[in-house]
């Protein structure tokens, strides 16, 4: 998103008032957007308190893509190494298994109990998993996640 779009903000606060996370946390969407123009906010923990529910973006009377802006700010933060440990684990699962949430023995058994065989996903097809790994290597994702 262009900075010029953000500059059309007239500080009404509809974004902050609509934020389900901001009710309970220090997340203040209006301030994040305002600060992002002036300075590097990559290290602010608030960036990761957003559930990406899109209320702010939907209700912005200026049509500013507020949630998309938060996603871009997160991407900048991630490139600078600001990745929370649990998010890094989820990324490692993806790199290793092709799934953010891989199956475990308990759920293999539960599937059998209800008459379902192994899921027809990348897990069952080694060539497909190899393709996923090739893509993640190619886009530089492995490097991004590497500590």
């Amino acid at each position: 998103m262009k900075n010029s779009d953000i500059l059309t903000c007239f500080q009404c606060g509809a974004c902050t008032g609509s934020c389900p996370s901001g009710k309970y946390t220090s997340l203040n969407v209006r301030r994040i957007i305002k600060d992002s123009i002036k300075k590097d906010i990559s290290d602010q923990p608030d960036l990761w308190m957003c559930t990406t529910c899109y209320n702010c973006q939907e209700r912005c009377p200026r049509g500013i893509k507020v949630t998309d802006a938060i996603l871009s700010l997160r991407a900048e933060a991630a490139k600078k190494g600001h990745i929370l440990p649990s998010h890094r684990s989820v990324c490692k699962f993806l790199i290793e298994t092709g799934h953010a949430v891989p199956i475990d023995d308990i759920h293999i058994t539960l599937r059998e109990k209800i008459g379902l065989s192994e899921p027809e996903t990348v897990r069952k097809y080694p060539k497909a998993l190899k393709d996923v790994k090739t893509l993640l290597e190619s886009t530089g994702f492995n490097e991004l996640i590497h500590e």
Binding site: P20, W48, A78, L110, A128, L135, S138, L144
Partner: protein
């Protein structure tokens, strides 16, 4: 209209397989032409992966879309996160030739190419538009007569400019499908508020995410519902697992969580076990007995 390939994602096959089973039963009963989408990976999830790197997110999503393109089928999702990632990626790649070229450079390494020939669907909007609540209503032998808290989930509706399913403030299409089963969609405060799971918040800040869940559960309880009905396994996990986590702090709700595929399965006469609801963490005998009583009723009373 193209046939459908069923996209499973991660949470459904790997954590709530009951939703997978119920969906397959229901699709067959409605005589919808579908097949498994083999070799698919994570969509990849919009919260974390889209946040981290747009090209990685688009590339992995495009590979999943290509698997359906190769079969000349549309892609059916049963998760709001998968719908969000795959639909948004499909739209971006169809319209942005620069990004498409960039993604195709990576895809070339696995001898694939994104062409942009198929659509991404979500089971709720698909049933609403292509089957219709009237037809579902006709198929129901024993109306469910349950009081239901419908939870749309954020990414089914928003961003509305991309979803094109109407406004997000007072949506009604999902309620219509729920009521077609004979259930009552009960109004409750904060109905369109987030469950708290998305955006990587559940994985990184569980307590924060649970505060949003508690807000919802309190209002659902106040409205006096028999169960929650959603259309997303991440919302399902947040409400079902979340109630276990909240109970540790003495906050007991005991509201069963039901994916729409499972609700429709019950309405079509499948048992709690057949639609995999017995695999939920939260089980409420009162709810299960009520469903069993309804299912035993004489079908001629409708």
């Amino acid at each position: 209209m193209k046939d459908l390939s069923l996209f499973l994602g991660c949470l459904i096959p790997n954590r709530y397989p009951g939703i997978e089973k119920a969906t397959k039963l229901v699709l067959d009963r409605l005589m919808i032409r579908w097949s498994e989408l083999k070799e698919a990976s994570c969509c990849p999830a919009p919260g974390v992966f889209r946040s981290f790197d747009q090209i990685t997110w688009l590339t992995l999503a495009s590979r999943n879309i290509i698997l359906a393109e190769e079969k000349n089928t549309d892609l059916l999702t049963i998760c709001n996160g998968c719908f969000s990632s795959l639909m948004d990626a499909n739209n971006i790649l169809k319209n942005d030739s620069e990004l498409r070229a960039q993604v195709n450079t990576h895809l070339k390494k696995i001898s694939k190419e994104y062409k942009g020939t198929i659509e991404v669907r979500h089971i709720i909007e698909f049933l609403d538009k292509e089957i219709g609540k009237e037809k579902i209503d006709q198929l129901i032998q024993r109306p469910l007569e349950l009081r239901v808290a419908v939870h749309y989930g954020c990414h089914l509706l928003k961003p509305t400019k991309a979803r094109k399913l109407g406004g997000a403030e007072y949506p009604i299409f999902f309620d219509g499908l729920v009521e077609a089963t004979g259930a009552i969609s009960v109004p409750y405060e904060g109905k369109n508020s987030c469950c708290g799971a998305g955006g990587g918040v559940r994985s990184a800040m569980l307590e924060t995410s649970l505060k949003m869940t508690e807000y919802k559960l309190e209002r659902m309880k106040k409205a006096g519902v028999d169960c929650i009905v959603e259309a997303c396994p991440f919302c399902h996990l947040q409400y079902d697992g979340g109630q276990v986590e909240l109970a540790k702090g003495g906050k007991i709700f005991n509201i069963p969580v039901v994916h729409y595929s499972q609700l429709l399965g019950l309405a079509l006469g499948y048992s709690i076990e057949e639609v995999g609801l017995h695999l939920n963490a939260i089980r409420n005998p009162e709810f299960e007995n009520k469903v069993a009583r309804i299912q035993k009723k004489d079908a001629s009373i409708k």
